[in-house]
Amino acid sequence: MKYYIIKRVMATFPLLLGISFLCFIFINLIPSDPAEVALRLSQVPIVTDELLAQVRADMGLDKPFLMRYLHWLGDTVRLDFGHSYTNPSRTVLGELARSLPNTLILASLSLVLVIALSIPIGFLSAVYKDSLFDRIMRGFVFMTTAMPSYWIGLIFMWFFAIKLRLFPISGNTSLSHFLLPAFTVALSYISIYIRLIRNNMLLNMGQDYVLYAQVRGLKDGMILTRHVLKNSLQSCITAIGMSIPQLISGTIVVENLFAINGLGRLCIASIFNRDYPVIQAYVLFMGVLFILFNLVFDIIQMAADPRLRKES
């Protein structure tokens, strides 16, 4: 177990390095010259070639590629992503920090919805397989996987906010602003997890230990909740854990649709404004988030399984 965790953590480093390298290449491939941008930001009136060369030397841009990467990596580890191009008075870190809370509210609301709905529905669908309920839910799952989330959001917006006037249309000033967007985000993920849990339940229900539990005279309800559900959830731990970073990155469309000032909206706005340092930091942040969550939940899944816990 200890050996496994160490091995797993060690294997994460090359991945993190790979992603940081990708991001560094990204900032190096962009069409604008960082030295020129720096001069523009400090509002130098006339940009001469000598001045450019000097700034390049100051910024270390004349050093070899690898040196620049290491330098950049050092800054990044200290969370120094530089300044925004479009708004030079602001640091990239500050921009991200300002947008993060809204995205986190949205993502955690969606997470609650996803877990609260997908586990019971998946469970009931498997227990009452081929019943009316199961067939309706299968239809629901099929439809939602074919529906673009922005369209679902539009329909919600029209029906609940415009027609019924139950919720505000857009913005992020109160909790009620977040409910419709959260439900929109949740809807596309719920179907994935309903299917996952249902399939896992069915797989477990065919196992010998369920047959023997029946033979031992245990009540059906007890077999299903205590044994089958626990085993099914056990094998979904990583998948359910990964829904957290997925929800954080999956808010892009909804944030733009409902005008919520979160990370996703910041990212799209930065793409339009060619604000490369912000995009780069966002991409790096998401990449690291995915890798770390994957690591943590893999280890949790491992620790939760007695077959893997005690060995080695």
Binding site: D130, Q207, D208, Y209, L211, Y212, A213, Q214, V215, R216, G217, L218, K219, D220, M222, H227, K230, N231, Q234, D305, P306, R307, K310
Partner: protein
């Protein structure tokens, strides 16, 4: 043969499997009975319907896919016999695991991998007996001791994957005995384990038989059935071909399949015996 001794009387048991368009008959018009203190062997190759019939009697076939007809009258104590195929789901569950217990093949897969043995044994005991909560732990240990398992306290804390197949099989037998059932069904209890363990398991089962509990012993192995059973049913392709004592069947196989079965087995035994005789050991 008086009906006082009767434990189970199965008549015209038929099991059909419904699959979209096709209906497959898995057990066709099977009738048999088991008396107190008797071991009935059901002999047949895999897919002959021998396991299906026991599962149908236990009521653990999903009713949506399986269609079970016939009757299985179960006599317990001095009460009126109950038809296991007709009683309510809850009543049937009360019989299952308490009055009729079962030993399955493939013991490695029969316990939930996420719970330690102690928890799984305790939930079985709690469900099927009126043992006070404080005594459950002790009873579980006693079950393990009876099954000749060393250091029962440790075994209770272990997870299924940490125990051997033979050990798990013995725990299963122990659990089948703990409720003092009227009937034990052993479904291929020796198939998935190695031959030395097999020998020990048969020993345990023979002890149960000597104690006088009625038993149905299902196997494809003529030799094992020979050791266990008083009477035998030969099953082939969902039908029962012949019933009687093993000696009767061997001497007078009534149909082609039984004859083949007996012959192939006898040839093997003869060969084995002739090997033994060759060096000049007196028979």
């Amino acid at each position: 043969m008086t009906s006082d001794n009767r434990v189970l009387q199965v008549e015209n048991l038929t099991v059909r499997y419904k699959n979209r368009k096709r209906i497959t008959t898995l057990v066709d018009d099977l009738s048999f009975h088991v008396d107190r203190g008797e071991c009935l062997g059901i002999l047949g190759e895999s897919g002959s319907g021998k396991s299906m019939s026991s599962k149908a009697i236990m009521g653990i076939l999903p009713p949506r896919q399986f269609d079970v007809t016939g009757s299985a009258r179960f006599h317990t104590g001095s009460e009126e016999p109950t038809d296991l195929l007709r009683i309510k789901k809850e009543e049937r569950r009360a019989v299952r695991g308490r009055k009729i217990t079962m030993i399955l093949q493939n013991p490695m897969a029969c316990f939930d991998p996420l719970f330690p043995m102690g928890t799984q044994m305790a939930e079985t005991v709690r469900e099927n007996t009126e043992t006070p909560v404080k005594e459950i732990r002790g009873l579980c240990q006693q079950v393990l001791k009876d099954m000749q398992i060393r250091s029962p306290e440790e075994v209770l804390l272990k997870y299924p994957h940490q125990l051997s197949g033979g050990m798990l099989q013995r725990i299963m037998i122990g659990l089948a005995l703990v409720t003092k059932p009227d009937l034990i069904i052993a479904d291929e209890p020796t198939t998935a384990i190695d031959s030395i363990t097999q020998f020990e398991i048969i020993g345990e089962l023979l002890k149960i038989k000597e104690q006088g509990t009625a038993m149905i012993f299902i196997s494809h192995d003529l030799g094992v059935v020979n050791r266990m059973a008083n009477r035998v049913i030969v099953m082939h392709r969902a039908k029962s071909l012949q019933q009687g004592t093993l000696a009767e069947i061997i001497q007078n196989p009534g149909d082609e399949y039984t004859r083949q079965l007996v012959n192939s087995r006898l040839t093997l035994v003869d060969q084995f015996n002739s090997f033994l005789r060759e060096p000049g050991v007196s028979a």
